[in-house]
Every structure is written in C-alpha cells, then in structure tokens.
C-alpha cells in the first residue's frame, strides 16, 4: 500500500475519532447543564420553603428522579465513548459486530438529531464475533451514515444493519431517501473504498444512479491472522 494512501487513512481516522469525541463531549455537556439546572431548581424549592410553606416532597422527588435519569443518560454516553476509544487499542481484534454497530449508531445519533433524521440499528438477536479492525469498521459505517444524512430529508429514517454471508458479514445502510450524488456526498464517500480495502472487504452497493437507497459493503470474518473463534479475546462485549 502506498505511503500516501496510508497517510490519508491515518488522517481520516484521526479526524473521525476527533469528530466522535467532540460530538459526545457536547452531549455530556448537555447532560451536565440539565443536572445543573435541576439541582438549582431543587435549591430554589428548598430556599423558598419556610414554616408556613414547607417544601413539597413530591416536587423534590420529581426533581431527584429527573436528575437520576440524566445521570443514567450521561453514564451511557461515557460508557459508549470509553468502548469507542478502546476500539483503537489494537488494529486487529475479535469483536461482536452487533455490539459494535449498536455503539456507532448510538454515537452518530447526535448528527442525525441535528438534521432531524431518525437513525436506527436493525440487528439480529444473536451476537456474531468478527476478527478485524473495529475502529476501521466503525469509521466505514460512520462515513456511510454521514453520506446518507446529507441525502436525507426532514424526519426520514436511516437504518443500519448487517447480515451474515459466506465468509463474513455484509453491512448495510439504508435510507428512506435516495442517496444523492453531489460533490459534498462524493467527497465524504471518497475515503470509503480505502477503509474497506484496509478491512479486506469490498464495496457491494454504491450505484451511480440517482435512485440508490442503500450503501453496503462486505467484510471478512477473519482478517490478518487472527480468528473470530478466539472468543477469549473478544473486545467491547
């Protein structure tokens, strides 16, 4: 592989990680801002109470419940950020593809929400171990989601899923709207063949026509000398 190609993938990969971390730090800040206001409200309720007007316990309970649900929301964000960060620990690992897709969809939801698009993961009940590059796979899926978001209109749905096929898995990103082919989308997608090639995979659907609703690619079950049967090394489950 040429040095320029390695550089490009490396730069794009760093940019991808930076984007995810920046986006999720905004999400954590939102949670902290809400907790700040709720604790302030709790203080207001207590400070305004006196002997004649005691603090309403039901109000305080309601605020506590809201704080707890924001803490749970924040904990989920941080847990997913942590698993995402650790997915860069090694270039090759055995991981659960179902958990990985669920995580990148969760992390990408912020961008979908800002564009008022519904992003969902459609996943089977059973888990599937793959031996490949978890960061690269998340990057490839995120690039597809970004391209689909650029094409999606208000309040439409994008679904990410996978199917087991001979020798690996086919990852599919389906949009209710046709994927546009314009310079912005093409620029976003230009790195996709490089990432997928790094994963030892192939691009399955990226039609030149204007009516394609699906991006899909195949990645092999085992890559680079490690096997998905090595479940003792499974990552992020």
């Amino acid at each position: 592989m040429s040095e320029a190609r390695v550089d490009r993938i490396g730069q794009e990969s760093l940019a991808f990680m930076g984007k995810i971390m920046a986006g999720q730090s905004h999400e954590v800040t939102n949670v902290l801002n809400i907790i700040n206001e709720l604790s302030g409200l709790q203080q207001d309720v207590l400070l305004s109470a006196d002997h004649e007007n005691p603090a309403r316990l039901s109000k305080l309970r309601e605020i506590c419940g809201k704080i707890q649900s924001q803490v749970a929301r924040g904990e989920k964000i941080v847990r997913n950020m942590n698993l995402f960060a650790h997915s860069a620990d090694t270039p090759l690992a055995v991981f659960d593809v179902k958990g990985l897709i669920g995580r990148i969809v969760f992390l990408a939801e912020r961008w979908a929400r800002l564009r008022r698009v519904e992003l969902t993961a459609k996943l089977p009940d059973e888990t599937t171990a793959l031996a490949n590059c978890p960061l690269g796979l998340q990057h490839a899926i995120f690039v597809c989601i970004e391209a689909a978001l650029l094409s999606a209109s208000d309040k439409r749905r994008i679904t990410v899923g996978y199917a087991l096929v001979d020798g690996g898995a086919e990852i599919g990103i389906e949009s209710a709207d046709p994927m546009l082919r314009n310079p912005e989308v093409d620029t976003r997608l230009s790195v996709l063949p490089l990432i997928i090639s790094e994963l030892g995979g192939t691009l399955r659907a990226l039609d030149d026509g204007e009516e394609s609703h699906r991006l899909a690619f195949f990645i092999p079950r085992n890559r680079g000398g490690i096997s998905s049967d090595d479940s003792g090394r499974i990552q992020g489950v």
Binding site: H26, N30, I34, E37, D44, D154
Partner: protein, 129 residues
Amino acid sequence: MDRLRVLFVDDEQELVSAVVERLEIRDIDACGAASGVEALQKLNQQSYDVAILDVRMPGLSGLETLRRVKYEHPEIAVILLSGHGSTEDVDRGLQLGACAYLQKPVNIDHLVDLIRKATQEGSTGSRGE
C-alpha cells in the same frame, strides 16, 4: 409593575422546563419552546418582552430563528445562549440584533440580570460572559 414575559427556547426539554420554573420563582412569566418553529408560533400568539434562544438547535437554527424574530417582532429583545465553540455564531448573532449572550451552563441570577437589562436598555449589544 407588570411581570416580564420571557420565552426560553432550547431543544433539550428538561433544560427548558427547569429554567422556566426557576424564572417563575424569580417573578418572571416564562414559557418554553423546544424548537425555532415552535418559538415563532408562540411569539405570534402572545406578546413577549424577551426571547432566549439556544444557538445550536435542530431544524431552524438559533441564528435563523433570531433573524425571523427580528424581522417579525423587532420590539422583542433576544438573548443568545451558547455552548462550547459557538463564538462565531454568537458574533453573527450580535450583528443580527441579539442584545446579549450567555454561555451554558446557565447562571440563573446572571440570566435574570440580562433579561432586566435587555428590557430597560433595548438592543444595545452587550456581551453576557
């Protein structure tokens, strides 16, 4: 003296309801909206003295909402609410007619000061923090 009427707009609904309650405790008539579109509807239905707009919202952004508010209701003072990394948006917002901005997390007493100043001084273009 009539109580001030304030519309607080942010897509985080829990934040909106908490801030609205805290403003009410401080003798300000406050209402909330979860989007720019909902804010414009409420501003058309009832009169407000001040609108507080989050800069970054899905759909109609805070800046686009500000532009429309200033076009349709130039008498309403607008305070912008910004998160990290929104300084360019805030500068643009002040150019578009916002009278002040406040950075999250909201300091409620500071916000109340800004609301009162905004209604006393009109659109003078002051910075919150």
